[in-house]
């Protein structure tokens, strides 16, 4: 039994059938990369896993417990699963420190001092301790995204979902964000990431899934997907990426 089991998941938005039967296993400490064109369903799949979207069919299990459909405690589920968004989504009316400590204080009911200690440790680790009292608009995009990652980590999730977290960043800021993800992977964090950074996907992932029109067309170790893809669509997708100079 895998840590995260996704079985025949379907998702529709009105007439649009976005996910058309996705099945996928993620083992503990694995890093799974979702690649594919925009609109292929990568983001939707991630959002379904932590119940930001309600799935229309299939089942998702986390560590053996069903975590989709009716009757689940979404708030409890989301404590187990952290997500980081493309557009950071920091709370603009709170300082960096408050952004990070809000959920530990209000959801985990940690005392403020303890929550702040932990937040400062995390901020120190990513080199942003001196920004603790700043509001997010004083930070660069890369710094904001690092704070967003730390905000999710402060809940000590068992699974991290990263939804194209470098797509909104200027190129020179991408590396500082990816370095954190690299560290997390080294520390054994289980992660699923939707990404267009193919070099990075090749480097960190244990498994790469190519999504096309709502199905996983091909999955396998990165060497195989990037080196010797069997599906024609995958080959065509990767060729476009290579032609764009991104691989």
């Amino acid at each position: 039994m895998a840590f995260l089991e996704i079985r025949d998941v379907h998702k529709r938005f009105g007439p649009a059938h976005i996910l058309r039967g996705i099945s996928l296993d993620v083992e503990l400490h694995q890093v799974v990369c979702l690649i594919g064109a925009s609109g292929s369903g990568k983001s939707t799949l991630l959002r379904c896993i932590n119940a930001l979207e309600v799935i229309d069919g299939g089942v998702i299990n986390l560590d053996g417990d069903r975590c989709s459909g009716q009757g689940i405690d979404v708030d409890a589920l989301r404590q187990e699963i952290g997500i980081v968004f493309q557009s950071f989504n920091l709370f603009p009316h709170m300082t960096v420190l408050d952004n990070i400590t809000l959920a530990p204080r209000k959801v985990l009911r940690l005392p403020a001092a303890e929550a702040e200690d932990r937040a400062m440790q995390l901020l120190t680790r990513i080199g942003l301790a001196e920004k603790a009292k700043d509001y997010p608009d004083r930070l660069s995009g890369g710094q904001q995204q690092r704070v967003a990652i730390v905000r999710a980590l402060a809940m000590e999730p068992r699974l991290m979902l990263l939804d194209e977290i470098t797509s909104a960043l200027d190129p020179e800021l991408v590396a500082e964000v990816l370095n954190i993800v690299r560290d997390l992977a080294r520390d054994g964090m289980t992660m699923m990431l939707a990404t267009h950074e193919m070099h990075f996907a090749k480097e960190v992932s244990s498994k790469v899934c190519f999504l096309h029109e709502g199905v996983i067309l091909e999955e396998g170790p990165p060497e195989q997907i990037f080196g010797d893809p069997t599906e024609e669509r995958t080959q065509a997708f990767l060729k476009r990426i290579i032609d764009a100079g991104r691989l």
């Binding site: 989301r78 699963i81 997500i83 009316h93 608009d137």
Partner: protein, 310 residues
């Protein structure tokens, strides 16, 4: 070409700025004929600047002059009716007016505090999600529709006189002031709830997604993420509504409370002028203008602390 020449000519209607404008425009013409293009442009620019002074300063001077003309025309009748000095310098009259105005201030402050809370409750109820909450959502919508649609003065009559006559349970035996507070709270609660609702809806859904994804409940997300951002955004329209409310406390006079308007009426009747109404107007201005400036300052401060966002 040479538009500054026409502007300078028009500026002569206000000679203090028009004469320099004309001088520079002639200078520009001379320099242009001598072939000094750069000098001509500089002089033309100066002529344009002076023409703008003619508009900005000249218009102001003429408008003020016109107002003074009205004030002192007809042997100063306007001045006597609106600003009878004998009353404006009458200490007893001011004392009586201030006593009345104090009631307006009290009604304003209490109503404002009630409205700030009550309107937020209504707005949140109108935005409750799901099928189960539909009846209460509709009830809140009905309330807003009704009380936004009735003139405040009618609500004051209906609540202030009607509740007392009909001995309505819970609110059948209140003082006149309390009835007015109740009536104005009902009316302004409906208005302000719409302001809050617009503010809450303007907070991008991705903020809620971020809050919920951290495990915060719907209520916690509203409390800590959505409402604080919404309130900051609606301060300018709220301010507008509260200045309206501050002025509408004058409605209290229609059910016989001895507020500033009724006291002014008595003084006017005794002295045969309207000067006491001007006094009342000055009293309102003395509160609304500083109040506006203070809220603008508060808003600027909060903007400085939280620029941008989205």
């Amino acid at each position: 070409m040479l538009t500054y020449r026409k502007a300078a000519t028009a500026s002569l209607l206000f000679p203090p700025a028009g004469i320099p404008a004309m001088y520079h425009s002639l200078e520009a013409g001379r320099l242009a004929r001598e072939g000094d293009v750069e000098g001509a442009r500089t002089a033309g620019g100066k002529a344009r600047d002076w023409s703008w002074y003619a508009v900005g300063v000249g218009l102001t001077v003429y408008v003020i002059a016109f107002l003074l003309f009205i004030l002192f025309n007809n042997h100063g009748a306007v001045r006597v009716v609106f600003f009878g000095w004998s009353i404006l310098t009458n200490g007893k009259a001011w004392h009586s007016m201030l006593k009345g105005f104090w009631i307006n201030i009290q009604v304003f402050f209490i109503t404002e505090i009630i409205v700030l809370v009550w309107a937020l409750v209504v707005a949140i109820v109108r935005l409750l999600p799901g099928k189960a909450c539909r009846p209460i959502r509709m009830l809140a919508t009905l309330y807003v529709d009704i009380f936004r649609g009735i003139p405040a003065i009618l609500v004051v009559y209906l609540v202030g006189l009607g509740f007392l006559q009909a001995k309505v349970p819970l609110v059948g035996d209140l003082s006149d002031n309390q009835y007015v507070i109740l009536a104005l709270s009902l009316t302004y609660g409906a208005y302000v709830s719409e302001v809050y609702r617009a503010g809450i809806e303007s907070v991008h859904w991705s903020q809620v997604a971020a809050a919920r994804s951290l495990g915060l409940s719907y209520t916690q997300s509203l409390r800590h993420v959505v409402v604080p951002q919404a309130v900051r955004r609606v301060i300018p329209p709220l301010l507008n509504d509260f200045i309206g409310l501050q002025k509408d406390t004058a409605i209290i006079s229609v059910i016989g409370v001895l507020d500033v308007v009724n006291r002014a009426r008595f003084i006017n009747n005794a002295k045969g002028t309207l000067a006491a109404y001007s006094m009342a107007a000055l009293l309102f201005l003395a509160v609304t203008i500083p109040f506006t400036r203070w809220l603008e300052w508060l808003q600027k401060r909060s903007q400085n602390r939280m620029q941008g966002g989205h």
